[in-house]
Amino acid sequence: MGFSFAEASWDGVTGAIYMGAGGGMPFVYTLIAAAVCIYALWSGNRKEHALYDKQK
């Protein structure tokens, strides 16, 4: 994603310094992270119930 400032120097840099600041990728990554959490809960719930059903 690279350095968000015009020159490759920390001189005078202020504000957001994370990679991709000012661009669209941070939002994409946040969305992916949220989707991973939702998938993990869905998958976990399926496996948990499969184990309960096996016990019955």
Binding site: F3, A8, W10, D11, Y18, M19, Y29
Partner: protein
């Protein structure tokens, strides 16, 4: 009027003195408090290792873990601190471009005798040397603890302590001099950036352990004749899980000590924190990234394993995989990288097992493999970031190529000394305990006390 001005000037001077004193004492207290937090790492490793050990070996595991800590501290004082300051430009090297490295500089501040002794003991004018040294000594002890778990249940105590000294007071220190110092040649020439020491602590320690494991061999009963592996369960998984959580708590002290406080003569900035390289950062930004990486790593490991041991290891792997860039990652990306690290732990550990390597607690995987990948991952996402202070075109920048070079150097700095010293100890009969002792148990043979003198009562039968 003149009197009023003189009074105001005197008050300003007094305020400046008070402000400077406050900053100095804050800086000293900041690093001082990171030390007990980092000792939590050792409380954690102690619990983690002892829980992962069978009852017949549990106190021996504890003894060797505690002794590694105890011996790394004085040896880091005797020569490890000198290595950090003396080696950045070579083995050892000349003074570096920032004037804070080289044989002459190291000899002026890091020996416990002569002129430099004034910086290695109580000195009313020095509020920094001891707490810096202390924080670094804790990093050193951490490397030895990382190695310790991989080798449980069959290593000799003194042989292990020698390995711990080589790793904790030399091998990782060379890696830090080269890659975690503004004058370090890996930083100056290749822009290597490893803010939270994923490579220079974790990968070095993990690959050192691998070098030792190749000589040490697996525990008796770990592998069958056909090469398949048996799981040797530790006697107390809850203790192991709590131990890992303590390591996580202590990790915050480790990461906090990776920053340089502002406003002192030795600080990079007057008004902001920086990494050890002098690049600006905040505790606030780092907090976002550590916590997101922790969550991601745990969830990744849970999805793949459903096992609390691997889940807690996943939490650790999440932090290690993002440690190199905790100062500059976007938190959502930290979560994703951590998640990936947690998810690959068990498969990566299985690869080692298929090669006939018995890493009892997954230390080579969690620290070696994940530390290596963490250094490289930063090169994928942070290419172009300046690695040091300086004007555009003068300061080196982070690159994938540079991070790969750094990761390889760190891995070799761990593996080569681990393999060579373990081989020498094996030749001298100081590496592995005799087979009869391993079968009988290390505790009955070499520990004066018993871990569970009344035994461990079984669970009560459920009520009808």
């Amino acid at each position: 009027m003149e009197e009023q001005i003189a009074t105001l000037m005197a008050q300003i001077a007094e305020l400046q003195v008070k402000s400077n004193t406050t900053n100095t004492i804050f800086a000293e207290t900041y690093y001082y408090l990171s030390i007990p937090l980092m000792i939590l790492i050792h409380a954690g490793f102690l619990a983690y290792e002892m829980g992962a050990t069978r009852t017949k070996n549990v106190l021996s595991s504890g003894v060797k873990n505690i002794l590694a800590f105890a011996f790394v501290l004085p040896t880091f004082y005797f020569f490890g601190w000198w290595v950090y300051w003396g080696f950045p430009t070579g083995i050892p090297g000349a003074a570096g471009p920032n004037g804070i490295s080289g044989i002459e500089y190291a000899s002026a501040i890091a020996w416990g005798w002569g002129e430099s002794a004034q910086y290695m003991g109580p000195n009313i004018s020095d509020n920094a040397s001891g707490v810096f040294w202390g924080a670094f000594a804790m990093f050193a002890a951490t490397t030895a603890s990382i190695m310790s778990g991989a080798l449980i249940e069959r290593i000799q105590t003194v042989g292990f302590v020698i390995l711990a000294i080589v790793l904790g007071s030399f091998a990782w220190v060379v890696a830090a001099a080269w890659g975690w110092h503004a004058d370090g040649w890996l930083v100056q020439k290749f822009g290597v950036h490893d803010f939270g020491a994923a490579g220079l602590v974790h990968a070095v320690a993990g690959f050192f352990a691998l070098g030792v494991l190749l000589h040490l061999g697996p525990r008796i009963g770990k592998f069958n004749d056909d090469g398949s592996a048996n799981h040797i369960a530790g006697h107390n998984l809850p203790l192991t899980a709590v131990g890992l959580m303590l390591i996580i708590a202590g990790f915050w002290g480790f990461l906090m000590a990776c920053l340089i406080v502002p406003g002192e003569a030795w600080s990079w900035f007057g008004d902001k924190f920086s990494s050890i390289y002098g690049t600006p950062m905040t505790l606030s930004g780092m907090s976002f990234n550590i916590l997101m990486a922790m969550g991601g790593g745990t969830i990744g490991a849970w999805l793949v394993t459903r096992d609390p041991f691997w889940m807690m290891s996943g939490m650790l792997a999440g932090i290690i995989s993002t440690a190199s860039g905790l100062d500059i990652y976007w938190p959502g990306l930290s979560f994703i990288i951590g998640f990936g690290a947690g998810a690959i732990l068990l498969p990566a550990s299985a690869v080692l097992e298929r090669m006939g390597i018995d890493d009892a607690v997954g230390a080579v995987t969690v620290h070696g493999t994940i530390g290596f990948l963490g250094v490289v991952a930063l090169g994928v996402f942070a290419s172009g970031f300046p690695a040091l202070q300086g004007a555009a075109g003068e300061a080196p920048t982070i690159s994938l190529y540079g991070q790969i070079i750094g990761a390889i150097v760190f891995a070799l700095l761990g593996f080569i000394p681990g393999y060579i010293v373990a081989g020498a100890l094996k030749a001298m009969g100081m590496l592995r305990v005799p087979e009869a002792v391993e079968i009988a148990g290390l505790d009955p043979v070499k520990v004066a006390s018993a871990a569970y003198p009344e035994g461990i009562p079984p669970s009560a039968a459920p009520a009808e």
